[in-house]
């Protein structure tokens, strides 16, 4: 009998705004579960989350509107629990359970 | 039967793609959308450069057409452009000598060693190769530490140096205290410039020659704009006379006329970087044999992560792209800047040496509400240098 390895999961609320939701089935708010550690056993970071979103949540083929040269596209703001991600170490920030991550595009006229 | 005679030769094969300029040889290259042969291409590059040298010569001519020896300082970064400048100047001198005339110019060739560590073998090996290629010329290396104490910099405006350390350590410490990668790249560039100008002044050179191509000047324009130095662009980009301020604290040591001047010229300013790169493969022997790899020269900026770029690097990448598809735009940026007026002012910035813009500063502080202002007694800096030094 094979015992399924129990992977602890993190519950993360991901929000998209400023038009980005268009890439994610027009849905602004997503509640997702991601593993606590990545394939190297390291705690998951925002970088991991971004890749996860591209692989599993993005429904549009235009990946370059979200990620460019394996980094978040310049012009997209990221807020971690309402604070600018620059304060938290940007993509290196280790995600905690219940975190709210917002991606908002600044790239539209008005 | 009448044999069709092709231009150039009677019995060789007709040219598939004749050179647009001489019609005598196969065109193997494209220059500014025209097919040209190797000789015409190298000739074009040579003449563009030499024309500027000639113009400079006219402007530094003595009275009544007398010919004082033109003495110029060449800033050799060991990169493509400055090496080409060196090569062409050498050819220019050789051409005159071979006709029995005296050398039209004396060159002080300076390489600024930007490593803050000691002896550098790779650099020595490179210089040996250059010396072998150009035996008539003298190459000097000045360490970056020779910037310390230069009077055209207001040292009170920079983070204070630790007197008990070695010069190399003092510099390393200063750089570490600058706010960002961009700041470090910016101050480094300014230091190198100061060293070249100071050396030229102390040897009574008439001009400093730099190897900037059109592309490099366009990059400089945009980078300086992005750093808030729009006001000083005409001074930085255009060829001509620059007043050099003296900030030495000791009034007894101040030179007789406080405002010295030096010419700064960029003879390769009408050529695109790509053209220059091509040129390095066409000389005999090719210049690519002696031009060193990037990391021999660029020690001040080690391999950086994606995020740790400087403004210069961002602009460099931007123009590399633009130059390929829209070269006229690149040239246009430089031409546009050339049209701007050079406004002089009483005071100059203590770090970059450019004119201070007091009117602009006042207005900016008013509209933005910038609290600004450094410590008491700190030197006056232009907007761009404030940003670089104090963040």
């Amino acid at each position: 009998m094979v015992t399924a390895t129990e992977n602890a999961q993190l519950r993360v609320v991901v929000e998209f705004s400023g038009g980005l939701e268009m890439l994610f089935s027009d849905q602004k708010r997503h509640v997702i579960s991601i593993p606590t550690t990545d394939e190297n056993g390291k705690p998951v970071t925002v970088a991991y989350l971004i890749e996860y979103l591209c692989k599993n949540v993005m429904k549009d083929s235009r990946k370059e509107l979200f990620v460019l040269d394996s980094q978040i596209r310049p012009g997209i703001l990221v807020l971690i629990n309402d604070a600018d991600w620059e304060l938290e170490g940007e993509e290196k920030y280790a995600i905690q359970n219940g975190d709210n991550i917002l991606f908002v595009s600044t790239l539209h006229g008005g | 039967m009448v044999t069709k005679i092709e231009a150039g030769s009677q019995d060789s094969q007709p040219l598939q793609r004749p050179c647009k300029k001489c019609n005598n040889q196969e065109a193997t290259l494209t220059s500014r959308t025209e097919p040209v042969c190797k000789d015409c291409f190298t000739q074009y590059i040579y003449l563009k450069c030499v024309r500027h040298i000639g113009l400079l010569g006219k402007e530094t001519q003595g009275p009544y057409g007398s010919q004082p020896t033109r003495r110029y300082l060449l800033g050799l970064s060991l990169g493509t452009s400055s090496t080409i400048l060196l090569h062409i100047l050498n050819s220019y001198v050789e051409a005159a000598l071979s006709k029995g005339r005296k050398s039209p110019l004396d060159l002080d060739i300076i390489v600024v060693d930007t490593s803050v560590s000691e002896q550098d073998e790779a650099l020595q090996a490179t210089l040996d190769a250059y010396r072998q290629r150009y035996p008539r010329l003298t190459f000097e290396v000045l360490p970056l530490t020779s910037v310390l104490g230069i009077s055209s910099i207001d040292w009170t405006a920079l983070p204070s140096l630790k007197q008990d350390q070695s010069p190399a350590q003092q510099l390393a410490d200063l750089f570490e205290r600058l706010p960002s990668t961009t700041s470090r790249a910016d101050i480094l560039r300014l230091f190198i410039r100061h060293i070249l100008i100071h050396t030229a002044l102390s040897r009574s050179c008439q001009a400093v020659l730099l190897g900037h191509s059109t592309t490099a000047l366009a990059e400089l324009t945009l980078a300086e704009t992005a750093k808030g130095r729009g006001f000083s662009l005409p001074w930085q980009i255009n060829d001509g006379v620059l007043p050099i301020e003296d900030f030495s604290p000791d009034p007894d040591n101040a030179p007789a006329d406080k405002k010295r001047t030096i010419r700064v010229h960029h003879p390769l300013r009408e050529l695109f970087r790509q053209e220059l790169v091509t040129y390095t493969t066409l000389t005999e022997p090719p210049l690519t044999d002696i031009i060193p790899a990037e990391d021999v020269v660029n020690k001040a900026s080690p391999v950086v992560s994606h995020r740790d770029l400087s403004i210069e690097e961002v602009v460099l990448r931007y123009f590399a792209d633009v130059e390929v598809n829209y070269p006229s735009i690149v040239a246009n940026v430089v031409k546009t800047t050339a049209k701007l007026d050079r406004l002089d002012a009483e005071e100059r910035c203590g770090v970059c040496g450019m004119t201070l813009d007091e009117l602009g500063d006042e207005r900016w502080k008013g509209e933005i509400g910038d609290s600004g202002g450094g410590e008491e007694g700190a030197g006056s800096l232009c907007y761009g240098c404030e940003r670089s030094v104090r963040g």
Binding site: G18 | T225, A226, D321, S328, T336, L343, G360, E367, G384
Partner: protein, 381 residues
């Protein structure tokens, strides 16, 4: 910028207030129209102005002014946002349509000329529409939501274009003066786009954020992407560019002897289609696109060739550009203006056709309309 919610909102509002008061943008009792597109910039502008008007007693009479380009599916939605804003901010709303102003909706324009150069039309029409709409309401001051990123981008584009005249105008916070009918200002000129997005987020403001369906999605190679990359390296670079631009504007040589910009030294190498460089697509707010670069390159090469032949460049440009339905527009040879008023580097008169204020004999909108109306019977399916 690094402070959470509440604090951020008040800092942002204080900064805008400072800009407004030190530039003396308004006077008490003034009627001001807010150019409202439903997008983030104008939504934030309306919200901030309302707040500051009340908090600091500017005494302003604020009105929302919205333009309907007539693009089905796009404008309908953003207009809904504006209508909602009007209710939220308790401001009167005036909607002016291209059809009532020009007899053409953008849908109709695109049907006629296709998707190349349509942004040019939209931009020219939009700019005039705002002014005309304001005049209809008896208003002489229009404010737009242009932010620091927009201004920085315009500066870089004008540098790339070689358009010094436009460069100097694009950096002033107010354009137009007592002699012009309607003046425009940009109270958010020193606010980063990032701050505007964050303000809208923290204040939970609704805005419309989809790209115009007709505008080309060209981001790479444009000045906009350069700005964003610079921002990533040094966030203050955007304002530093604005500062550079303002300073460079003062270095532009003044050509008092020559009244015609296309013969003077300050003539741009490439004339952009829009009067103040902040046009282009009505929705993209003057952002540049890859197309513009290609068009500029082409124009510059033609100029170089023309200079080589020592032909009057303006004449040389004319036939080429008329065939060229790209974003680059050539001004026609100047006729005598009805009321020449020297304003800086260009003379301002009135359009012979419609009376709109213009530096040409015939204003740009009328020029474009002439072309459109000729093509009307030839609409291709």
């Amino acid at each position: 910028m690094h402070t959470p919610g509440r604090c951020f909102i008040s800092i942002f509002e204080d900064e805008v207030h400072h800009t407004i008061s030190s530039s003396k943008l308004f006077f008490p009792g003034e009627k001001v129209a807010i150019g409202a597109s439903g997008g983030k910039d104008s939504t934030v502008l309306a919200s901030v102005l309302k707040t500051l008007n009340e908090r600091h007693n500017y005494g302003l009479d604020l009105v929302l002014l919205s333009i309907d380009e007539g693009i089905k599916g796009y404008r309908d939605d953003s207009l809904e946002t504006v209508k909602w804003n009007a209710i939220q901010y308790e401001m009167p709303l005036k909607v002016v349509g291209y059809d009532e102003l020009y007899g053409w909706t953008m849908d109709q324009v695109v049907e006629t000329i296709g998707k190349k150069g349509n942004c040019t039309y939209c931009g020219v029409f939009r700019r005039q529409a705002l002014d005309r709409g304001a005049k209809m309401l008896g208003i002489k001051h229009v404010v737009t939501g242009h932010n620091a990123d927009d201004v920085a981008e315009t500066i870089l584009m004008n540098l790339l274009r070689g358009d010094l005249a436009r460069l100097s105008r694009s950096t002033s916070i107010v354009t137009g003066d007592a002699t012009s009918d309607v003046k425009r200002s940009k109270p958010l000129k020193y606010s980063y786009e990032k701050e505007i997005v964050l303000y809208a987020y923290h204040k939970k403001l609704d805005y419309f954020s989809t790209e115009c369906i007709y505008s080309p999605e060209a981001f790479r190679g444009s000045a906009r992407s350069l700005i964003k990359n610079l921002e990533r390296v040094r966030p203050t670079a955007i304002l530093d560019i604005v500062r550079s631009g303002e300073d460079m504007a003062r270095l532009v040589p003044v050509n008092t002897a020559k009244s015609c910009a296309c013969k003077g030294d300050v003539a741009p190498a490439v004339v952009a289609a829009e009067e103040d460089g902040l046009g282009g697509c009505g929705s993209s707010n003057g952002r540049s696109s890859g197309n513009e670069m290609a068009a500029m390159e082409k124009q510059l090469r033609q100029n170089e060739a023309a200079e080589g032949l020592e032909v009057d460049v303006s004449k040389q440009m004319l036939p080429q550009a008329q065939r060229d339905k790209e974003n680059v527009k050539t001004l026609p040879i100047r006729g005598v203006s009805a009321n020449p008023k020297i304003l800086g580097k260009q003379t301002l008169g009135n359009c012979e056709r419609c009376g709109y204020m213009s530096s040409q004999a015939i204003c740009q909108a009328c020029m474009l309309l002439e072309g459109l109306n000729k093509n009307r019977p030839q609409i291709q399916i």
